[in-house]
């Protein structure tokens, strides 16, 4: 059962992908028929079922109105961004420039920042949390979220406790924004690179398997 924004976002994508397919259509990822029974197709950009709402989030924050969501999820410009740091063992520190609430969610909640990563290349997200709260409130414009962040983070001392709390709150808040996030298009390979991942056996597997 999906429990977080990331899980729910991915589950929502899956739901959209399944609901937008025709009966009998195969999933190109695994070649299996993803529709064993007949399910009526719906519009790919239809609002998500309320199943993805979070009572936890609703207890903490009022749900954003469509207008508030549109404003708070907008793309920001140079100067409105916030800077964070990805601390990685192999790479050292690298600076991230975040230009929207959604980019912040990707940075702080994605698998890499959270620790699920490739090989031995783990990383840790660092941000000046006072600045982050001010950015949410003054630049993004999500005052209810900023108020809860300020209250919860103010009660903590250790950085790890604060960032983990921030991540959990961000996760919950983003859950309420899921219905307003742009549809994710699965096949988004570049102009001439679409075939790279699709071609047959490649070096690196067969030599070692």
């Amino acid at each position: 059962m999906a429990t977080s924004y990331v899980d729910k976002r991915d589950a929502a994508r899956l739901t959209k992908a399944i609901f937008s397919k025709s009966p009998g259509e195969s999933d190109p990822a695994n070649g299996k028929d993803v529709l064993g029974t007949e399910i009526p197709a719906i519009e790919a950009d239809a609002a998500l079922p309320d199943d993805y709402a979070s009572p936890e989030a609703d207890r903490l924050f009022p749900r954003p109105t469509p207008e508030e969501a549109e404003h708070n999820l907008r793309d920001l410009t140079w100067g409105e961004h916030i800077v964070a740091t990805r601390m990685a063992a192999a790479r050292g520190n690298s600076t991230a420039y975040l230009y929207s609430l959604q980019e912040a969610a990707i940075f702080f909640l994605d698998g890499n920042s959270g620790g699920v990563t490739l090989g031995s290349s783990g990383s840790f997200a660092w941000v000046d949390l006072d600045r982050f709260v001010a950015w949410i409130r003054d630049t993004v414009g999500d005052e209810p979220f900023a108020a809860v962040l300020e209250e919860k983070l103010g009660a903590l001392d250790a950085y790890n406790d604060k960032i983990e709390t921030m991540r959990q709150l961000l996760d919950l808040r983003m859950t309420q924004y899921i219905p307003y996030l742009p549809a994710d298009e699965e096949d988004d390979a570049g102009e001439d690179g679409a075939s790279d991942a699709d071609e047959g056996a490649v070096a690196g597997e067969s030599a070692r398997e």
Binding site: R86, Y99, I106, Y159, G190, E191, D196
Partner: protein
């Protein structure tokens, strides 16, 4: 004593691409003083590159690929690497440079009969070179040109093995003694980026072992050389195999992660990958909970990489593993890592998406903008963006024509370097991206600017920086108190003075620090770059994996020497001798850089290093007011005047004059009179 030195194949292959001929020379004259890897490669470059001042893509440039006595053995984290040297096109300006690559290339070269390969000239047609049990064949590569590095390797596997299915035996060419194998040859191939002379082009081996830094893939491309392939059944004599096994087991027992019953573990699941640089847990994840199977270089028990069911991201590690994270999807991250390796682009040198996106957001770059490009910035958070960007760089299409020259040269062309190098674009030395903070971790920044490239040696860095930062970020105590840590690091390096590892504002300019930088360069040249020990494990200064309150020492420096003796049989070899040989290699390299035009004035770190204070916590040990502690080192910059003073003291410690030219008396003391003569002839004698 065998008919060739223990640990060696005994021959060096010299490829003359111009007429597709080759010759072999004995390794033996190089064994005593140049040993292998970087030392061997630098000496061969010195002898075979007749004009060391030419451009990297000139056909007079020479590339040397050199294995070492440890390659192909069971030396832990040391059996898989080879060194690549030559004039490199990436750095600004170009320098004689180096790179190294892991996997199974070193052992395969020796099994095929050669300790090193010298590549000279430019082939009249596109070729790949097939080396099987000492036999060398130039093969037409016209049909491989345009293929990516994975497709190329697979095509060559099929040709060398006569299309033998995986897992089945095939006979190697020749007589019955040539042997049989089920292995694939070890292929070292370029992708489209190398063919198109992209300055950040790599040479790829297997899925994700690459000669990354320095742009040697472009040199292969300029030479019309698509790939080298090594296959063989020759064995290499080891002086004392029983002792080598004993040492291997002892090291593995002492330092190895106990999979079934770990001594130390990350405090929370999300910390597991970050702790892996210290704990050495296989695959970097929690055993049994990873999505991949741990994988490593030949002979390594640590297995820091992973193989995945969908093969995307196989063996990925280091910077390229996290090159693309903007979509928030791990599958895109893996896919992008593989794309870098397939196209043959170095993920570190091509580290530019964030900067380009900033220019777009600033309104400087984009369709119809000052820097005109139709890169799909509106899809920056989708895989389409990174796929398009990397293909354009590799193929020199549209904005890729500028970016293929490297970001420093591109920003100079765009007129943005002077402004952006003050902080927006952090390229502290020679055009390489910031790796570790040059204002604080100065073994890294001094070592990089006084040599040829980002040094990329983590041995000290894991201890002094990560062992404090990582636990503190997760609300834990550092592995060791600062005083105990520096005491142990000083002991493990043989420097014996904890002040060598003081990162206070005073400490980073001290004589002790100059001594540490000098040691780091000599140790690195010999043990990491010449003997192929992996810097993700060596030097082994602190045993974080199995640390207890009273037993936390690593195995350096004693075990490096013991391993060397067991493999080579050189029983009189000492740690001091290894550092002396490292110093000797640096003298030769320095002479090449001086011939290329190196002067003190060219050794300038970027302006931001001196002008922009640090603003992110960066734990390091400092000695202040008579006590050791960890500092977050905020608000720090380097001081220009004190940096110049360090530079002069470092020159003096190395036996260079005030212009940084190696002194004749020092060169002669190391048996390098011919090098002193060459400097004299160039008007740069000292």
């Amino acid at each position: 004593m065998a008919d060739r030195a223990y640990g060696y194949a005994g021959k060096i292959l010299v490829l003359n691409l111009e007429d597709e001929s080759y010759e072999t020379v004995d390794t033996d004259p190089y064994v005593g003083e140049w040993v292998g890897g970087h030392g061997l490669a630098s000496r061969l470059f010195w002898e075979y590159c007749e004009d060391k001042t030419v451009d990297a893509l000139d056909d007079r440039n020479v590339i040397v690929i050199a294995s070492n006595p440890f390659a192909g053995t069971i030396v832990p984290a040391g059996g898989g690497r080879v060194e690549v040297t030559g004039l490199g096109p990436f750095s600004y300006p170009e320098w004689y440079s180096r790179s190294s690559v892991g996997g199974r290339l070193g052992g395969s070269m020796k099994n095929a009969g050669y300790d090193a390969v010298v590549v000279r000239g430019t082939a009249p047609r596109r070729v790949w070179v097939n080396v099987v049990n000492g036999d060398v064949t130039y093969c037409d590569a016209e049909d491989l040109w345009g293929k990516d590095s994975w497709e190329t390797q697979e095509a060559i596997w099929d040709r060398v093995t006569n299309n033998t299915p995986l897992g089945e035996w095939f006979d190697l060419p020749g007589n019955r003694e040539s042997g049989r194998s089920t292995s694939r040859p070890a292929v070292f191939a370029i992708g489209q980026a190398g063919e198109n002379l992209v300055r950040s082009a790599t040479i790829t081996h297997d899925a994700s072992h690459v000669s990354g830094q320095s742009g040697f893939g472009a040199v292969f491309g300029a030479k019309n050389l698509k790939a080298l392939s090594f296959m063989g059944t020759k064995s290499i004599d080891i002086a004392d195999p029983a002792r080598l096994v004993e040492l291997r087991l002892e090291i593995q027992e002492k330092l190895g992660y106990k999979v079934d019953d770990p001594v130390n573990e990350a405090p929370v699941p999300q910390a597991v990958p970050l702790y892996s640089s210290l704990l050495h847990n296989p695959g970097g994840g929690t055993v049994g909970q990873t999505i991949g199977r741990p994988d490593g270089c030949q002979g390594c028990y640590r297995n820091c990489r992973a193989i995945y069911r969908d093969r995307m991201g196989n063996q990925s590690t280091c910077n390229a593993a996290a090159y693309y994270t903007a979509s928030g999807k791990r599958e895109d991250q893996k896919r992008c890592n593989s794309l870098l390796n397939q196209l043959g682009l170095d993920g570190y040198e091509t580290d530019m998406p964030v900067y380009l996106y900033n220019l777009y957001k600033m309104g400087v770059m984009g369709k119809g903008k000052e820097i005109d490009t139709d890169l799909p910035f509106e899809n920056y958070n989708k895989y389409q963006f990174i796929d398009t960007l990397l293909h354009r760089i590799a193929n020199r299409e549209e904005i890729g024509e500028d970016l293929a020259e490297g970001l420093v040269r591109a920003t100079m062309k765009w007129g943005r370097w002077d402004e952006d190098s003050k902080g927006l674009l952090r390229r502290p030395n020679w055009g390489y991206p910031e790796h570790y903070d040059p204002r604080l971790e100065v073994e890294w920044s001094y070592g990089s600017i006084f040599t040829e490239r980002d040094i990329n040696e983590h041995g000290i860095n894991w201890c002094v920086h990560h062992s404090a930062l990582v636990p503190m970020m997760f609300g834990q105590e550092p592995f060791l108190p600062a005083d105990k840590l520096v005491e142990q690091v000083a002991k493990g390096t043989g420097l014996e003075d904890p002040l060598c590892f003081d990162y206070s504002e005073k400490g980073i300019y001290s004589d002790e620090k100059v001594r540490a930088v000098s040691w780091h360069r000599h140790y690195g040249r010999f043990w990491i770059q010449s003997m192929g020990l992996c810097d993700w494990m060596w030097p082994s200064l602190v045993n974080f994996t199995n640390m207890t309150d009273t037993d936390y020492a690593g195995v350096s420096p004693a075990f490096e020497v013991e391993l060397f003796k067991a493999v080579t049989g050189r029983d009189d070899f000492t740690y001091e001798k290894s550092l002396e040989l490292g110093h000797k290699q640096l003298l030769l390299d320095r002479a090449i850089w001086v011939l290329q035009g190196r002067e003190p004035e060219t050794e300038q770190l970027a302006d931001y290093v001196f002008e922009l204070p640090t603003d992110t916590p960066y734990q390091l040990p400092v000695y202040e007011n008579g006590t050791w502690s960890y500092s977050d080192c905020l608000g720090r910059t380097l001081d220009r005047g004190r940096f110049k003073d360090v530079q002069q003291r470092f020159y003096a410690s190395e036996g260079w004059n005030e212009r940084g030219y190696p002194k004749r008396e020092v060169l002669e003391q190391f048996g390098l009179a011919d090098v002193a003569d060459a400097l004299d002839a160039a008007g740069k004698g000292a």
